[in-house]
Symmetry: C2
Subunit: 282 residues, 2 copies
Amino acid sequence: MTEQRSVAIWRDGAAVAVPADEPVLTAADHGLVRGDGAFESVAVLDGRTPHLAAHLARLARSAALLEIPPPGDDVWHALVDAVLVRWRAETEGVLRLFLTRGPGDEAPPTALALLAPVPAETVRQRTAGISVVSLSLGIPADFRAQAPWLLGGAKTLSYAVNMAAYRHAHRLGADDVVLTSLEGELLEGPTSTVVWAAGGTLHTPPTETGILPGTTVARLFERAEADGWPTARSHGTVDDLHAADAVWLMSGVRGAAPVHTLDGVRRADAGLTARVRGLLAR
Amino acid sequence: MTEQRSVAIWRDGAAVAVPADEPVLTAADHGLVRGDGAFESVAVLDGRTPHLAAHLARLARSAALLEIPPPGDDVWHALVDAVLVRWRAETEGVLRLFLTRGPGDEAPPTALALLAPVPAETVRQRTAGISVVSLSLGIPADFRAQAPWLLGGAKTLSYAVNMAAYRHAHRLGADDVVLTSLEGELLEGPTSTVVWAAGGTLHTPPTETGILPGTTVARLFERAEADGWPTARSHGTVDDLHAADAVWLMSGVRGAAPVHTLDGVRRADAGLTARVRGLLAR
C-alpha cells in the first residue's frame, strides 16, 4: 500500500514532498538511534485536518519536555499542506507528524509528515467496539509527577513498550489495553485515553498520573459540559470500569471505541456511545 | 564530523555501504514511528570488533523479546565488514547495529550499521572517572520479570527516558546515572551496567530485575573468577555503593568508568580500577 502514502520532510527551510518509499532519515538521527523525539497522529477527514491545532499544541509541549527546540507551527503547516495536496479527499487518513532531535553535530531537529490511509481494522473497531485487557505499568500513579526524567505527559517516539502491550493483548485474544499503575489505578491505553460514564458523569484519569492529555477527550468534555453532561478528572480502578455505564478508549483517528469486553467480561454501553459520537461529530 | 562516519544497510540480500549523510530509513519504518527495534553498541579497536559475538547474541535475544525475526549473524557480519572496510584502524570507533521492525506491509525488518569515532568526552570519562546521581525508575525490582510487555532485558530503540535521565543528571552537574527501583534497589545506568567491589567480591545486580545483561561485565566476571576474584549477582542499594571499595559503570565502548562522586559525595576506588582494566584488557 506504499503508493497510497504521502511523505514530506523539512529541508533547507522548505517542506519537500518525497516518494513514500524514499528514505528520509539518516542512520545517525536520534529518532532512530534513541527513539528520541515526539510525534502526533492527526485525523484527516475530507482532505482536511479539523483538529490539527490541538495536536500542534501537544507536540510543542512534548518538545519542551524533551528539550528539543520546536520548529514552529509554520513548519508543521507547510508539511501538512505538502502531504495533503497529493491526497484523495475521499480517503480517510492518519497524518503522523514527527519531530526528532536530529542527527547531532549542531544539526537542527528533524521534522517530517507521513500521511497514510486509516487501517480497515481501526474503522472496524470504531463501530464494532473493542475487547480490552488491563496491564500494569508497575509505577505508582503519583510517581511520574515528581520524576521528570520519566517523561510523563510527553508523546515520545519511544513506544516499544506500548507496542509490546498490544502484542501481549493480542496473545490474550483482546484488541487493546488499559494500562494501570502499580496500585491498580487507571492510566491510559497505549495509544488512547480511557473515558467512562458513571453516576451521570463522564470520567477520565487526571494527567498528574503521567498520562498524555488526550485531544479527543478534551474536545468531548468541552462539548459535554456545554450539553449539560458533567465531566470529571477522576482516580479510578478497573473495578470502576466494570461498574460503569459505559467505557471507551478515545483517540484522534479511531474516535470513541466502545469497550464491549474488559478482562474477559462482557459489558454494555447503556446507549451512551451514540451520544458521545454525536458530541464528537459536531 | 559526518565525513568520519561509515554507514551500511541491508538491501535486497546484500550489505550496501552508503554515504553517512544519505537517508536510509523511510518515514513509515517502525524504528522511527514507534522506536520499535533493538540495537547494540560495539567497540571498534584497531579496526576490529573483538567482542562482536557477545553483542550479536544479545541482539538476537532482544529481537526475540520484541518478536522481530532476526536477520541472522551472516547479515550482521556483512554489515560490519561493509563499514569497517572504509574505516581508519587508528581511530577508535563505536559501531551501532540497528534492527527495526521495518516499514510494515509484510516488508522485512530493517538492519543497518553505523560506525562513528568514539566521542572525546567518552574517552575522558574512561580515564578521569565520572560523577553519578541516582534516579528512580519507579518500578519495583521484581516487577518486570512478571510483566513481559515492559520488555525488561531487551535493548530497544526506545531510549527517550534513558536520554532524559542523562539530561537530568547534567542539570545536577553529574556525568551519568544509576537507575534504582521503586524501593531503592540498584538497577543499571541508562547505557551501562553497575559494578561494585565490596568484601573482596565483585558485585552486579541480577538480571531478574529487568536490567540488560552487560557484555563487558560478563567478560570481566569470567576473567575475575579465573583470577581468583569472586563475583556475585547481588541485590544492592545506593548505600551499598557508598560503602563499597570501588564502583564502576561498565559498557562496551567506555569500558569501566570509575565513579568518583555519587550523589555529590566523593569516593575512592581502593586502587581496584587498575586491576579491573587489566582483566578487561587481556
